[in-house]
């Protein structure tokens, strides 16, 4: 490839300072940050920092040096400017539910936790948008909209705790994204503090804005383009009615073929969630929903829209399921029954806690029609390693979530989790898919990037990242594989057997 005079490529991140606890610069940094946020909004005690040493991805751990809880864009801008002045890395954290280590503070530094910025600034139904602060919990927005006839469509399974800022950073999906799309389809604009401390606005509340779609590029940056401080999100009409069903199948492949047929028949359900035998048993043990323990798979199918349309859609779905050896079907006739069906899905993760001390949720994607193949492969991998793997996932999108159960106190098991995950994700790629549908690359999947993308692809992504974050001072060593000695060592340090000492 050409390298014209003024083209920058492969910028190596500069060396950032490692803070030494108790040193002069450390105290001075604490003092300056305290001036901005006040002493009740700052943590630096080693014990208190433990809570922040990992997010939902528990394989790697690394504590930040300082945690701050700002309450305004101005505070964030000042914090970021000070981090620049001291040359220490920083990163944003929402609720910390990331499953790919997005909140892991590689190289330490300052963690900016956004949970105190959780206001709704505006709701405008006529123009179909809301403006919220980044720490707003996803479900709280939808709760605030109850009764208006509108909701915020992206609904990750973690919606009861994850934040809109975190959703934007990771471009979250969820059960209803099959019909309604992922986060990027619902973000109209945003305000962000760039890694140099400047404040920018991208997009806006109108249907489109002139120029390049920078807010579109921002969504899914995994915290590496600066800190989102405000979001303008699209509001979606509530469906008039739902039909929610639990279809029980003898085998997984019957269920996956039914999924493919339903969509091929021109029906786009609002949700198509699959639970396999392992997860059914776990849920049953925990909550006693009455699932048959010997069933191969259960599909949670929901269609929504106008009342007048739904009976016919539901009828056709049942017909298709029947053609694929449907064993039995439960229908929700009341809103309470619907909630109960959804509860079984949403609490699946909670139920897993009963099966095993630790679990690692994977996030591969395959074309929908290749689901039977990937599930067979997952089963074979489970047998190969003698490790229990259960599945609960957004089947309509081909987004699988094999959950690998292990004991994190056992170093061998950690190694096996890594190897089994690697094999499953490689298979997803081989089937024409991707290694992440919604959790992101973070630190967890960084080694896959150079297998999915070639050097030129990565260097283009790097150029775009460098426009926002040229010094890599914000959320360093995430998403793109680092190069250069300094960066390399930063990552190697955090991966000793992929598990840092406590």
């Amino acid at each position: 490839m050409v390298d014209p005079d003024n083209q920058t490529s492969h910028l190596v991140a500069p060396v950032l300072e490692q803070l030494e606890r108790g040193s002069g610069p450390f105290s001075s940094l604490i003092q300056q940050l305290t001036q901005i946020v006040g002493k009740n909004s700052l943590l630096y005690d080693a014990d208190e920092l433990l809570v922040y040493e990992c997010d939902g991805y528990i394989v790697d751990k690394s504590a930040p040096d300082i945690v701050v809880f700002p309450t305004s864009t101005e505070q964030i801008s000042s914090i970021v400017k000070i981090c620049n002045q001291f040359n220490v890395p920083f990163l944003a954290r929402g609720a910390g539910t990331s499953l790919s280590g997005g909140c892991l503070p590689i190289g330490g530094g300052v963690m900016i936790v956004l949970t105190r910025m959780k206001q709704i600034l505006e709701i405008n139904l006529r123009d179909r948008y809301a403006i919220v602060e980044p720490g707003m919990v996803n479900l709280h927005l939808t709760n605030a909209l109850k009764g208006t006839g509108y909701h915020y469509a992206p609904d990750p399974s973690s919606q009861g705790s994850c934040t809109i800022g975190g959703n934007i950073a990771t471009n979250s999906g969820g059960p209803h994204t099959l019909k309604y799309g992922v986060t990027t389809n619902h973000v109209l604009g945003l305000e962000a503090v760039l890694p140099d401390g400047s404040v920018i606005n991208l997009g806006g509340p109108t249907a489109e804005t002139p120029g390049y779609d920078l807010h579109g590029v921002y969504v899914g940056n995994e915290g590496t383009f600066g800190i989102c401080t405000k979001a303008i999100v699209r509001l979606t009409r509530d469906p008039e009615a739902h039909r929610t069903m639990l279809a029980v199948f003898q085998t997984i492949s019957d269920a996956t073929r039914a999924i493919s047929e339903i969509i091929a028949a021109g029906i786009i359900p609002s949700a198509l969630e699959m639970m396999d035998q392992g997860i059914i048993q776990a849920i049953e043990e925990a909550f006693h929903f009455g699932f048959p323990l010997d069933a191969g798979a259960v599909l949670l199918i929901e269609v929504d829209g106008l009342e007048i349309a739904l009976d016919e859609e539901a009828r056709r779905i049942v017909e298709i399921c029947n053609a694929h050896n449907l064993r039995e079907i439960q229908r929700a006739d009341t809103p309470e029954e619907r909630l109960l069906i959804w509860k079984s899905r949403k609490q699946a993760f909670g139920a897993i806690g009963r099966l095993s001390p630790s679990y690692c949720t994977q996030d591969g994607v395959v074309p929908r029609t290749r689901l039977p193949e990937i599930l067979e492969f997952i089963e074979a991998t489970s047998q190969k390693y003698g490790m229990r793997i259960v599945n609960v996932f957004h089947a309509g999108d081909g987004n699988v979530h094999p959950i690998l159960l292990f004991d994190e106190r056992d170093q061998d098991q950690i190694q096996q989790v890594m190897e089994a995950s690697e094999e499953i994700l490689s298979k997803c790629l081989e089937l024409g898919g991707s290694v992440t549908g919604e959790h992101g690359i973070g630190v967890e999947k960084i080694n896959f990037m150079s297998r999915i993308f070639n050097e030129t692809d990565l260097s283009q992504m790097e150029k775009v990242r460098n426009i926002f974050n040229p010094r890599q001072i914000c959320s360093r060593d995430k998403v793109l594989p680092p190069h250069g000695e300094e960066s390399q060592s930063a990552v190697t340090l955090s991966h000793p057997g992929r598990r840092a000492p406590h």
């Binding site: 899914g220 074309p367 991707s434 992440t436 919604e438 990037m449 992504m461 775009v464 426009i467």
Partner: protein
């Protein structure tokens, strides 16, 4: 290098991505000529003076299907594929890309992405940015790169596809694209309403927020535009006042129910009889609504994007200036064809000033969508600078450091 029939001998017609990459890479290292990517050439003179000062890069030979796994409802095609060709292939399988494209017999998918083309259906289906799941392109110095993939859900790496949607060929030449498709609906009907004032239209549009129906599209036309659209579609409909045309798609019984329901709901705002248009007439009228934004012979076409709640007051001003107005009403996107009386730059500038004065500078934008190319030099094509302009400049610099791709078009983007 292949020569074109219609272009100059310098024009380049790549037959593969690697040929395209080689051409741009050689150009960057040696001749460093300005180059201009073109698809169907449906709008080259638009918003861009002097666009032919170097070779055109014509995508006409990049028009193959790369992969169409029908049951996965995704397709990967080369960027020069014409929309009609794409639609034919996918509609044979009961699928569609729900993006309305004027002149679809000529426009290419690369051009649609580069210009972020959309039409009435955007209200319910979104725009092309919501359907691009993977993209390949070659930047100004010959780097062939891709982002995304071929599965509908994927968050590996940054979404560079978004950056290219609407970039007007100023960041790279799009060479291949993977799209998410939707099922074709069984039936479409339109309901044509006639209102006697802007105020009653506004009330009706506000009621859409809580309507029992779920329209696919909500189109507004003032009388001047309504007359042209009804003439074009050869359907006799009332067109002396303010027309609103609502579109429904889906299973037949559901569509029929909704058409009746909206008539009941809107009785409160319009005393005049509404008309239901179905069958082939519905397609004719829908096509006329899709084509209207680009179909005019008028000297200047404006596009305003405002909040839906502020749209009717803007339209009232535009109508008083004798402008023919069509709007994707529930999205606040307004197209205005200026009258013949806007015959001098001075007149046009006066009209622009009056319109600009009723746009909220915080949220609305007025742009010149089409005009004679010799006027484009003097008119403020983008009337206010976009948010994030400095980052945009850096993006342009990063992908086209030698300013070899459509650079005039880029400066027009921000001349203000």
């Amino acid at each position: 290098m292949t020569l074109t029939h219609s272009g100059t001998p310098e024009d380049f017609v790549p037959t593969s991505q690697s040929e395209l990459s080689r051409f741009l890479s050689d150009n960057a290292t040696s001749a460093r000529k300005q180059t201009f990517p073109v698809g169907g050439r449906t709008s080259l003179a638009v918003c861009c003076p002097d666009s032919h000062s170097g070779p055109l890069i014509c995508t006409s030979q990049l028009n193959r299907v790369v992969d169409y796994p029908v049951r996965d409802m995704t397709i990967t095609v080369e960027a020069g594929m014409r929309l009609d060709q794409l639609n034919e292939i996918i509609s044979a399988e009961g699928q569609r890309l729900p993006i309305d494209v004027p002149q679809s017999n000529r426009a290419t998918i690369g051009g649609v992405i580069a210009t972020n083309t959309s039409g009435p259906r955007r209200f319910s289906y979104g725009t092309i940015r919501d359907y691009v799941i993977g993209i390949s392109a070659v930047d100004g110095v010959g780097n062939l790169f891709k982002s995304g993939g071929r599965v509908v859900k994927n968050v590996a790496g940054y979404d560079l596809g978004k950056m290219l949607v609407g970039s007007l060929g100023t960041l790279s030449v799009i060479s291949q694209v993977s799209l998410n498709l939707r099922p074709r609906p069984e039936c479409m009907q339109l309901v044509w309403f006639d209102f006697d004032s802007c105020q009653s239209v506004d009330q009706a549009l506000e009621a859409i927020v809580t309507s029992g129906t779920r329209p696919t599209a909500v189109e507004y036309c003032n009388s001047k535009a309504a007359r042209q659209i009804t003439a074009e579609s050869r359907i006799e409909l009332p067109n002396e006042n303010h027309a609103v045309c609502i579109c429904y798609e889906g299973p037949e019984n559901v569509v029929k129910w909704q058409a009746q329901q909206i008539i009941n709901e809107w009785r409160a705002f319009s005393s005049l009889d509404a008309q239901i248009i179905e069958g082939s007439q519905a397609s004719q009228l829908y096509n006329a609504l899709t084509e209207y934004q680009t179909s005019s012979d008028d000297p200047v076409t404006l596009k305003a994007v405002v909040l839906p709640s502020q749209m009717m007051s803007f339209i009232e001003t535009a109508t008083s200036l004798n402008i023919a107005v069509q709007a994707h009403a529930a999205d606040g996107i307004v197209f205005g064809h200026l009258p013949d009386s806007a015959s001098s730059l001075e007149n046009v500038n006066q009209i622009l000033e009056q319109l600009q004065s009723v746009i909220d500078p915080g949220t609305g934008y007025l742009t010149i969508y089409q005009c004679e190319s010799d006027w484009a030099e003097s008119l403020p094509l983008f009337c206010s600078p976009p948010a994030g302009w400095e980052l945009m400049q850096q993006l342009k610099q990063a992908l086209d450091p030698l300013q070899l791709l459509n650079s005039r078009r880029f400066t027009e983007l921000v001349k203000s």
